[in-house]
Symmetry: D3
Subunit: 329 residues, 6 copies
């Protein structure tokens, strides 16, 4: 008795659907796979109700819904949920929510009493709407995997970023040092430093006594006369980065690079970044960046696309092949 | 062996929480009950993430969250869900979601293939977030009760409206006739007509052949030389009402009144209503109406408050007493 | 990369099972599909316990259980549930409950306090017994779709009926008008009227003041000198139809036809119908009609078979093809 | 810190509801508790649909629904389920299904392929309808407790029966021996024999070779010149008892008594029992016995009431006291 | 339209995994199937935490985890659960837990108050960890099937044992009689006796009055001058068997054989068995027996392998073919 | 209308149960509360099956099961689960699992493919067994709160430890610096450093190129001529601590203290610690330390009891009072 893995045909064909949150990324994933995005209507009615209609049946198909959940967060999330339910009610064989940036990742534990764990709530909502699986990239905490009851592929863009840094930037750096902006990122920062063969330092924030709001920042480790690569998982309003760059410079850093996966870019983040003495910003397209914002950062901004990564994972998930192999794991 | 119902003390005290969607209604409910709204922070961060923090513990308490889900729909709904989860994680004894206007009520069945039943999705989300019970008013279809697994009190403002119409308007009407704007409201329209002792007529919309978008309207029943009361469950963009008033007038109606429970008032609905030859608009406060909108309709607008109704239901739910008794049922 | 939809083979072969409630319909469905009904024992023991035994294994198969749930309601329902569980325990790959007439459809909301929503209970029972999907026809309220967590195909026999009426009856009618027996059917009545290009009128029932049980009937709209087509979703005891025919005749109607999907025919319904001045009764075979009952109505009764409709839906569900396409949707 | 158990008041008052299956037993339980049965309508409509309406609210109450599930099994079961859902939707604090005789107890495992485990299905149905707890008596297999996810009190009438036998019958017996009718009852039969201090014997049924339907019966153990007490959990059609009595007599037994908990009495069971040379039948009222049937067995029939047992368990469950204590356990 | 059952390919290939509890049996099953056991790491860390890592992906595969749950029970069970979860999180298409000996089978009901039903707990744990199906052999009570919500194949080794006894032992026996060690095994013992065409007798244990711990044993039925086959489902500490053999011998038995499915062999069971005047012990390899233990019993011990049975069931489950057919059922 | 919070009596009395894993801690908690531990049997049978029997009923009570889950992990965990199920089946009103040290905390995400998230599995098992709530202390990752669907109190012993360090050690330190042993503890280490008003440094482990197993350790930050406090959440085999102490000393540290919450002490951890040049070890009693182990560390070991903390949380949970208030939150 012998089984040829190429005979496996668990489900019908791949069907790719995109929400409205990240159309470019969805299009690139479709192109990677040689597929077309399936047509559907997504309407926002005057009463702020969302409506979805699929143009063709997904009965028995293997469906992937690509929708990032950056701002407008609630609308993008609800759009995802309604699409999932619509697909489920149309008897799809398997539904995978592909969420490049998964919202509410920082609300992942009760670090004070009487607050929510919204990240778990989001996982519950995705499940109750009808997802059989999920795919996401670089969540704030890897533990979000345990918030889901359904299986998923939690990927990282780190290989992508490390390859880029090692090829395009590392050769030009003198005595580089990786610096984490947040102590919660210390372990991942260490991994990154190890991957580009550089030492690491940390920025510590500590509340100033007698003043609930003031924070003192310290660099633990050595940055003087070194090229600094600041690393974090996302840039939100940019406040921490502004502080970190300033501190690094005051501490004698030479060039400063900033590396992060998710360009959330809330409020006037891009304006603030544009004003910083930073040589380069390296990020990905898990969150779409408007042309206006791109223009402000100009050539200093490098956006690596996660489309080939997500596309390949979708292909392998569909064909029942290992995703870990992609990373020699 | 004897049981005195006044001894019943199933849960701790009443705790009332309000989201940000309908603060005035929540305040009135609290006043009806002689309670204060519990303090909490609700923050919308620059990255469009919502955050909730309760100021005091609800451990073992009987909590009611008052939050309507009109526009911004997604934000109001998410705020409700996060509050529910926060209360659940803080070990509340029982949590009731009090949602005067429950969003997505019209997405209640698949009347065409490949569309969602978002109303069921909303019910699922409210349950998964942690509600033990729910209270709502005049849903589009009474069947929404069957979308929930948890018990709830599905109320109607009709007694309130009938009483007002019978006292303030009915005596001044000459040969009144109730007219439903939508055939889906025919049965409820009949009940209303019966309650104010008037005959009924119906507006029928029908697609014109050879033109997918054009609709022809007909009145079935007699409105000539009569005072017309147009009835529906909600006014959204006002388009149907504009057509209905026009048709009624063309058909020989004299005065026209418009009665509806939920003043959703999307887009430029209020401007359109303000321009109509309508004597009076009677509605409730399940959805808040801004002072600007109120000003446009002036004295023609009557807003009946559902606060005493919701307050009394909360009191009875807390004390383990019948709600049906309120309506002699 | 390319996917041919004809390659899809999600599940094993089709396996059709029939309960004892509607053997003729089941047989016709099987014939439409070119399949045989699978053999099984269904025994009612002297202690009123039902027992089921499948003659062959359904391991890995795509199984459809055809069972209507007209009277004896509880027995037919329990038979369905036991079959579903038996199939699940025998490791069927997918199980679809095909229920032409779904019982308890009118118990779909709490329209008074302290009553059940039995229609939701029935949905819960079908799910807990093991159905992965369901198929039904013309439920009393379309919202029953939201009572199920599992996906389903909720079909309508309206195309079937409209085609028959347009071909066999409409040409002979003079000034036809469609009349709904119940205001809850107003919207569907309008659709039917539109499909046969006729105007519509409504029968309104209203309680007479000072007499809880007496009801006054009125026709809203014009039936004088017209051929009337009374429409409803089902005929139960026939009481409403008797009243409606009488009222139509008194109001000057000429010929009267009666059109309805489900011939529930409780109590002495058929005897009452046989005595009415009705030219023709058009219905379907979602509920079996005994030869005795058929004889009473004679040639006035037309029973359209839903077997081709259900058969085609089963075929498409099995092959992973669109059901909506059948109706150009 | 000290807690007085009499302060405990978990739920509101006791509310007793009875279905239509065993009104006398329900009344006796109510009398034991000094409570009244709550009023409710239970209607069977002409279309065979059941309908329930509670006369008063059970919001926050501790409700017990007494309904046995003997024939008509499906109707009694559905009545129970609808009552449970109605109570749940009316926001009862806790709902206990009290089912003296739990149907489908013998369908408790797949002893051949492709058959149901209906007893588990019944447990699932009771849970999905809304029961928080259940109470039953002498199920066919004690393992049914593991079919429920909810807690329950699985009681036995054996103390009741043993006490009666020891007081009223045992003193008059000469060399008594207990004989089990079915080997599946061997262990319980041994317990009974031990409780009345008698030896035990067993009837073995075995299929005769070359004849699938013929069975040979043998008594293992000694009954000659002894008074025999045949024991089983229920009498259904009486077939086994007829065989057993005949075999006992042929084997030299003197007097024969028959002891069993559930008088299911299907088909012509009572007529068959009436014709047997049996001195006495001892059973309980878990299943109601019609006056006609009682008359046929006359004074030979002793029916012990389980009402005090069930009443006491309800009282203790309500007050949060041990049920095991009742049996010195 | 025609379906060829050999076309069915529900899932990917068979993947066999073995825990550490029964490596020999797992290896034999793999050999029967012509498959290799998949490689995985199972590590017990110094802190007594178990860790599992699969060497290759199981995405979309049809996975079988072979793990018996004899001592060390908790460790073997936890190993099984962790493997199930790991496979589920790796997106296996279907996961079947193959548990030759399922632990805690005797904790299957509350036969006294305030004790667990651990067998149901084990079923719940297996389900929550991620099994879609289960396979086990000769559980203590067949009702354990009803403890699972997932379908399963509950097999018996009885055909295997009966065939062996009929071929190797039965011809040499003189006036054989089957004797059950426990009354709970009476029915299965009867089946065995019938299969080897022998009469049956029973050992009854009864508590001696005035002494809670002392038990009196009696044989019901005739063993004098007969060859006795003692039967039970498992041998644990061997205490019951020691008593039973002694009693049989005292009652005049000639040769004694002992037949049982599961060689649990706790404490010094094997030493005690070795000392008994028993001609042969016949059992299976559902629980591994160490070479030391085998040596003690020497040639008197016959261990029949269940590997072909389990292997064939896995093959049929994978191919969607009937398991019942294996036994002409 | 007014509610007095002291009237609240949600559940029956407090009932404390202890497993066998941490009897001393359980006893101290009981003493803190002025309660007695409830009596129960916990038996480990020769076949390695655990058995539990409660001596008294918990019907309607508010039960707390105190059981730590250090080694033997699987046995302690299973004991907890069986107790939970037993309590649930005995109809306890509310059951809280109090698990001072929650096992498998480090298996909290898939940091490589094809591994489990055992921490989530453990949460699932605790829920399925019957816990309504849980209490634990200093889990490895706070996100474990999101693994549970039930609410819980996740506490920290940090206040306890900080108070002790500030009072007993801090005054004697010269230029203290806090050093984290693992970068995953960086944020919590910073909090501790802030609480005792000391700077922080980090030990970084990094794999040496070309050698998969070798790791290089570096201290980031300044320890020379300083008193070092090494901090971590637990000490398992002690390997990391041995390395850290050695590195600190080599880097010029003066005194070294080691502070950690959970004394897991696997393998020969204590022997290794005893040999280190460490002035003091500060830990808690979440995991019991045998007298032999205590003796090895002698006066250098300080074990702070978490009993008052857990006792107070139980008291407040029972009385429906805030736990956050205990920490001024």
């Amino acid at each position: 008795m012998h089984h040829h893995s190429h005979e496996i045909k668990m489900y019908g064909g791949i069907k790719l659907y995109a929400g409205t949150a990240s159309p470019d990324l969805a299009q690139k994933i479709a192109e990677y796979l040689g597929e077309k995005l399936c047509e559907r209507d997504i309407v926002l009615f005057p009463n702020d109700n969302l409506f979805v209609k699929l143009h063709t049946s997904v009965r028995g198909q293997d469906v992937y819904v690509i929708q990032t959940t950056s701002a407008p967060v609630q609308q993008n999330l609800m759009e995802l949920l309604i699409m999932l339910q619509t697909l489920r009610l149309d008897s799809a064989a398997r539904i995978t929510a592909v969420v490049p940036y998964l919202c509410y990742g920082r609300s992942d534990k009760k670090d004070q009493p009487r607050v929510p764990i919204t990240s778990r709530l989001v996982a519950d909502m995705i499940e109750v709407a009808g997802a059989d699986r999920y795919v996401t990239l670089d969540p704030h905490a890897g533990q979000v995997q345990g918030f889901f009851s359904i299986p998923g592929d939690v990927l990282t863009a780190s290989h992508l970023i490390v390859d880029h840094v090692n090829q395009a930037i590392r050769p030009n750096l003198k005595d580089p040092v990786v610096v984490t902006v947040d102590l919660g990122f210390a372990k991942k920062g260490r991994n990154f430093a190890s991957d580009i063969d550089a030492p690491i330092a940390f920025i510590e924030k500590r509340r100033v006594t007698n003043n609930a709001k003031a924070e003192a920042l310290t660099i633990i480790g050595n940055v003087r006369h070194r090229d600094v690569i600041l690393v974090d998982d996302e840039i939100d309003t940019g406040g921490s980065i502004v502080q970190a760059v300033k501190l690094a410079k005051e501490s004698g850093a030479r060039q400063v690079y900033v590396v992060f996966v998710h360009p959330v870019f809330s409020a006037n983040a891009v304006e603030r970044l544009a004003a910083l003495p930073v040589t380069g910003y390296i990020t990905t397209d898990t969150v779409p960046i408007s042309p206006e914002k791109r223009a402000l950062l100009g050539e200093r901004l490098t956006v690596l696309s996660v489309a080939p990564l997500l596309g390949e994972v979708i292909r392998r998930a569909h064909e029942g092949r290992s995703v870990g192999e992609m990373f020699n794991e």
